[in-house]
Amino acid sequence: MKQLRRENIRFWQGNEACAEAAVIAGCKFFAGYPITPASEIAEHLAERLPQVGGVAIQMEDELASIGAAVGASWAGFKAMTATSGPGFDLMQETIGWAFMTETPCVIVDVQRLGPSTGQATKCGQGDVMQSRWGTHGDYSSIVLSPNSVQEMFELTIKAFNLAERYRTPIILLADEIVAHMREKIVIPIAKNMEVINRKKPEPYEKAFFGLQDIPPMPAVGEGFNVAVTGSTHDAYGIRFTADAQEHRQLVERLNNKIQSQAEKLADVETYKIDDCEIGIVSFGCTSRAIYEAVEKAEAKGLKIGYTRLRSIWPFPEKIVRQLTETAKKIIVPEMNLKQIFYEVQRVSNGRADVIPLNKIGGGELITPEELLEKIEESA
């Protein structure tokens, strides 16, 4: 029992780690509607948030849940909601509103197997494109993809920090496997965990929607005169529903504040990307198969490298391009019918032969054996 004395070691479920991380990141408001495989996040926060002076509410549906979360954010609180594919569908309209109004919040989508109610308790990775293009219009999302309970913890804190820093919704794109599995996790010492808070306006400031890349954000009730609208608006929140220039200025800034930071936002784990013949690009639960497959392939004398994406959007182009410049072939395993595949193909631009490896149904993971077989076929 040597670990017992070390209080920072836990055996947590992914969803539990997400909830605890939210509390550490300063989340004070959660609104959600129960759905497998995300319900445990709500369950834990219902207990934990009141202990730290926060509020957790079960709303009547997902539309109301995201609405309450963005409302809480405008009241000055760090807010979160958690759902799965069917609920993520319903949230899209208000997620768009949150992008347009630059409302920091964290939306957890624990992916399950769709479309529609599909196989509700089984794992899938089919919401990759939805997390990028789910709501209408031009916008840029930041999407994080954990592959362990430890990362459910770390990336939840990161999601809150990015939301506050960039004043934008952040999507934590988890999946049933990482959300439901239990693992040993190590909780860093509190003083080593960075917690970022949104920039508040000085008393004389009036421009909360422009004049700078990331404007300061007042809270309702602080005495500022603030109008928040999903319609095109100027730096002061005044609506301009037909002016071309105002629209370009706003929406281009909203995109640019994310896209200009793409390199900085790229969060990846890489292995031998400068010296490999076959590369792998992977993310989420699927990436748990690469370690064993690579070890076995190397034992057979093959030169393998990989890039594992902890951030999916903005797509970490530069680092993936590096792999396409080294490897002749790149395998993209996904529990969907090709979503990240096309991104890798686009970035590769014909340099490397990009090979899909797809599996859906029953929540069955792509196994290291299946990946190894694909590697050997490609060699």
Binding site: I9, I177, R182, R288, A289
Partner: protein, 174 residues
Amino acid sequence: MKKIEVRISGLGGQGVVAAGQILGRAAVYDGKNVVQTQSYGAEARGSAAKSEVIISNDKIGFPAVRKSDVLAAISQEALDKYLKDLKEEGVLIVDSTYVKKIPETRAKTYKIPATEEAERMFGAKIYANMLILGALTKTIGISVKATEKAIEDTLGKKVADINKEAFRKGRSLS
């Protein structure tokens, strides 16, 4: 300790997931790396349930069990389904209350009348999973102290004592 992959299977309501969870937590308390996964049907009771625990000194990559080192089967269906995925030199633990037909196997086999014993000792079937847990932890080499702490932390102090008693009985029967 080399990597040990454990599969516990039975029907929903038999405490399969709780047993896996406590086994995993106990192994963490003993200083191991652990991944525990579970799968069950949409129904609360009666459909097939499965819990898998991988225990290792090293970092664990792939989280699902393919060939198991240890199989605990709490229903006949579970045994029939997963015995073929038990390694030849593996360990088989069955609840002999429900598992009556065991095909010929080279696996070291422990037949524990877990449900019968639970009913006899406590008048309730629900403690059968703790007897199975006792057999599992003894086979794998997880300490009593870590497991009892894990029982307490997982199930709460109120019901810890009775569950610990069932757990210790399971150890003594294996």
